[in-house]
C-alpha cells in the first residue's frame, strides 16, 4: 500500500472525524490551526500540528499549501466548508503534486456553478427544476417578470450553504429580491450572478450519497432526508428517507448514479434533490465533499465513508458494493449548535464548564468539545453531532430523545432543548415534514416541574452556602481515594 501523509485543512468535529479515520488506517496526519484554535481538540488528535496564523487562515490557500510543505504532507483532506468547494484550491493542491482528497477540480468547478450544474444534469437525463439556465441580465427584460410563475427563487450561481437565495412572492417584489440576492452573493462568493428557479412547494429534501474512483466506477450508498432545516441550514437528518416508496427510491438512486457516472465522479459526493407532494423529484445540486450528515449513512450501511475516501486516495481499487444497497434500520442525526433558541438563535459563547456526552446502545457522538474549552463565535456554531441508530425510525427517535436528555453541556447555551421539542412534536414523529416545517415551529420556553424547581432553588442556595461559608464539603471522595472505594465495594460483594 502506498503511504500518504494527510493534512486536514479544517477544524472542529469534522477535523477530528477525519483524523480518527487516519489513525484507524495508520496514516500519519497533520492538523492545521489558527491562533484562536491553539487549544482546539483537533490539534491534539493529529500526529503533527502546524500553526497557520490568524483566524481566517483556514480559507487561505497559500497558508494551507505552506503547512503541507512544512510538514511533508502528501495529501490534503478539506473536510466541509472553508476550502472544500474551492476549485482553485483543489487545482493548486494537485499542481503541487499533492493528492486532493475529493473530486477533480474540474468537477468541483462545474458543480460550484449552479447554472453549469443544471445544464450538465439535464443533459445527463436528470429532472431539473424549471428555471433559467443562463444568468439573469443586469437589466431584467420587461416581459420576464410577467412570464415567471410565482413564488420564484432567486439563486446565486456561485451559491452554497443556503446563502444568496431570496424568495420573490410576486412580480412586484422580484426586482428587490434580485438585488438582495446579488448583494449577498457578491459579499459571500465575490460573484453576483443570479438565476431564477421555480419554488417547489411543500418539498422534502432528499440527497443521495455517491462514491466514485474517478475511472467511471460509481457506487450509490443510499439516501438521506434532511427536511428539518432552519433558515436553509439542516438541523436534523436521517437515513433512509422513509417517505420514498421502493420504486421511487430506486429512481432517485438511479438518477444520482447517472450523474455520477457522467461526471466520472471521484471520491465522495452528494447529489441533492427536492421531492414534491406528488412524488416528483428534481435535481438541486451536487455537494462535492464529505457532508456534515454523513454519519447517518454510515450507521445504516456500515460503511466508513471517510475511510473509503482515504483508501481511494491511497490508490486502492474501489470496493465492491451491492447494486442496491439495503439500509439496515434507521439513523438520525441532530446538530448541536452553540445557539440559544430562547433568544432568537443568537450564537452563544462561553467556557464549557461541564460536559457529559451520551452513550449506551446505538449512540454515536462526533464532537470537538472538551471540558474547559472556550467556545467563541469566530467560526461555525456547530459544536457536535449526536447520531443514533435504531431498528426502525420510531425506535431511533426514542433513542435520540434519550441521548439528548443525557447530553449535558454546561457553560453555554445550545439548541438541545429546541431539538428535543422538534423530535417530540407529532408532525416529526409521523414523519410528515417539509423543508418549511420550522418556519412555523416556535420554540417553547423550557419549563421545570414546580416542586422540582423549588428543590433546585434549594440546591443553588446550598451550593452558595457551602462556598461562602468556606465549609469543607464532605463528598463521596473526600475520605477515601477511588482505589479505596473500589476495594470497599469489592469487599461488600464478598470477594
Amino acid at each position: 500500500m502506498k503511504k500518504i501523509k494527510v493534512l486536514v485543512a479544517n477544524r472542529g468535529e469534522i477535523a477530528v472525524r477525519i483524523l480518527r479515520a487516519c489513525q484507524e488506517i495508520g496514516l500519519p496526519s497533520v492538523a492545521v490551526f489558527t491562533d484562536i484554535d491553539e487549544a482546539a481538540l483537533h490539534v491534539r488528535y493529529a500526529d503533527e500540528a502546524i500553526s497557520i496564523g490568524e483566524k481566517q487562515k483556514y480559507l487561505d490557500i497559500a497558508a494551507i499549501l505552506e503547512a503541507a510543505r512544512q510538514s511533508g504532507a502528501t495529501a490534503i483532506h478539506p473536510g466541509y466548508g472553508f476550502l472544500a468547494e474551492n476549485a482553485d484550491f483543489a487545482r493548486r493542491v494537485e499542481e503541487q503534486g499533492l493528492t486532493f482528497i475529493g473530486p477533480r477540480h474540474e468537477t468541483v468547478s462545474m458543480m460550484g456553478d449552479k447554472l453549469a450544474a443544471r445544464r450538465f444534469s439535464r443533459k445527463a437525463g436528470l429532472p431539473v427544476i424549471a428555471g433559467t439556465d443562463e444568468p439573469l441580465p443586469l437589466e431584467l427584460p420587461l416581459d420576464m417578470a410577467k412570464k415567471v410563475q410565482y413564488p420564484v427563487l432567486v439563486k446565486a450561481a456561485a451559491g452554497g450553504g443556503g446563502r444568496g437565495i431570496r424568495l420573490a412572492p410576486s412580480a412586484a417584489e422580484l426586482p428587490a429580491m434580485i438585488e438582495a440576492a446579488r448583494r449577498e452573493a457578491k459579499a459571500a462568493f465575490s460573484d453576483d450572478t443570479v438565476f431564477l428557479e421555480s419554488l417547489v412547494q411543500q418539498a422534502r429534501h432528499i440527497e443521495v450519497q455517491i462514491l466514485g474512483d474517478g475511472e467511471g466506477n460509481v457506487a450509490c450508498l443510499g439516501e438521506r432526508e434532511c427536511s428539518i432545516q432552519r433558515r436553509r441550514q439542516k438541523l436534523i437528518e436521517e437515513a433512509p428517507a422513509h417517505a420514498l416508496k421502493p420504486e421511487l427510491r430506486h429512481q432517485v438512486h438511479e438518477a444520482a448514479l447517472k450523474l455520477g457516472t457522467a461526471l466520472k465522479y471521484r471520491s465522495l459526493g452528494t447529489v441533492e434533490f427536492l421531492l414534491d407532494k406528488k412524488d416528483h423529484f428534481y435535481f438541486i445540486e451536487v455537494n462535492p465533499r464529505i457532508q456534515v450528515e454523513h454519519p447517518v449513512t454510515e450507521m445504516v450501511t456500515g460503511v466508513d465513508l471517510v475511510k473509503e475516501q482515504l483508501l481511494l486516495a491511497l490508490g486502492e481499487p474501489m470496493r465492491k458494493f451491492p447494486e442496491e444497497i439495503l439500509p439496515r434500520g434507521a439513523a438520525i442525526e441532530a446538530r448541536i449548535l452553540a445557539e440559544d433558541s430562547q433568544t432568537g438563535f443568537l450564537p452563544s459563547a462561553g467556557q464549557v464548564l461541564y460536559l457529559k456526552e451520551p452513550g449506551g446502545p446505538g449512540v454515536r457522538v462526533d464532537s470537538a468539545l472538551y471540558q474547559g474549552m472556550s467556545v467563541g463565535t469566530e467560526y461555525d456554531s456547530l459544536l457536535a453531532k449526536v447520531i443514533v441508530w435504531g431498528e426502525n425510525r420510531a425506535v431511533a427517535i426514542q433513542r435520540l430523545r434519550r441521548a439528548l436528555h443525557e447530553y449535558q453541556i454546561g457553560g453555554l447555551s445550545t439548541d438541545i432543548d429546541f431539538i428535543l421539542q422538534i423530535i417530540e412534536s407529532p408532525k416529526f414523529m409521523s414523519g410528515d415534514v417539509t423543508t418549511t416545517y420550522l418556519e412555523t415551529f416556535q420554540p417553547k420556553p423550557s419549563s421545570t416541574e414546580p416542586a422540582l424547581e423549588r428543590d433546585l432553588a434549594f440546591a443553588a442556595a446550598f451550593f452558595a452556602h457551602q462556598q461562602r461559608s468556606g465549609n469543607a464539603v464532605p463528598t463521596m471522595i473526600s475520605h477515601a481515594s477511588n482505589w479505596q472505594m473500589v476495594a470497599w465495594k469489592e469487599q461488600m460483594n464478598g470477594n
Binding site: G410, D417, E453, F458
Partner: protein, 162 residues
C-alpha cells in the same frame, strides 16, 4: 441562619439554611444534596428520584445550574446572603429568626393569628435571660416552626408572617 434569594427566570424563591434545617418559601425541604466531587457536581435527592446537578459560579451572585438525568434546565441563579439577623429584625420582611442560641420558652402566637407591631411572637431564654422577640410590623402568622422546649441555633427561623 442564612437566607438566600434565588431567582429562576422570573420566579423568586426564598431559601433559608440553618444547620440541617432548610426551607424554601417557608416550606420544609426534604431534598438532599450530596456533593460528588469538588468541582460542583452534586446528587440531588428529590423525593424518590435522584438527579445529577452541576453548579458553578463564574460571576459573583450568578450560579449556572445544569440538571442531569431526564429533566434538564440551564438556569441563571442569583443568590444573596443576609447577615445574621438581630433580635426582632425584619428578615425579608417576612420571618423572625433567633438572635442567638437558646431555649424557646413560650410561643404565644399560632398559625393564622393576626399580630400587631411590637407584639411578642416568641420568648427565648439564653444565658439565663429571657427575651421577648417582637413582631417588627403588623401581619398574619403563616408559620410557626418552633414550640416551647425547643433548643434553637443562632439564626434559626422561628416564625414567618406576611
Amino acid at each position: 441562619m442564612s437566607l438566600y434569594t434565588v431567582t429562576i427566570e422570573d420566579r423568586i424563591y426564598k431559601v433559608s439554611i440553618s444547620g440541617d434545617h432548610c426551607t424554601v418559601n417557608g416550606e420544609e425541604v426534604d431534598a438532599r444534596m450530596l456533593p460528588l466531587n469538588h468541582n460542583g457536581l452534586h446528587m440531588l435527592h428529590h423525593g424518590k428520584q435522584a438527579y445529577e446537578v452541576f453548579l458553578s459560579n463564574q460571576e459573583a451572585d450568578t450560579y449556572q445550574m445544569l440538571m442531569l438525568g431526564g429533566h434538564r434546565i440551564v438556569t441563571q441563579i442569583t443568590s444573596r446572603m443576609k447577615k445574621h439577623l438581630k433580635a426582632g429584625e425584619d428578615c425579608n420582611a417576612g420571618c423572625l429568626a433567633a438572635p442567638m442560641h437558646g431555649l424557646v420558652v413560650d410561643v404565644p402566637v399560632h398559625e393564622g393569628d393576626t399580630v400587631e407591631k411590637g407584639q411578642t411572637l416568641v420568648v427565648l431564654e439564653s444565658m439565663k435571660m429571657q427575651m421577648q422577640l417582637r413582631s417588627p410590623r403588623p401581619g398574619k402568622v403563616t408559620k410557626v416552626t418552633v414550640q416551647s422546649g425547643d433548643q434553637v441555633e443562632k439564626g434559626a427561623l422561628l416564625v414567618q408572617f406576611d
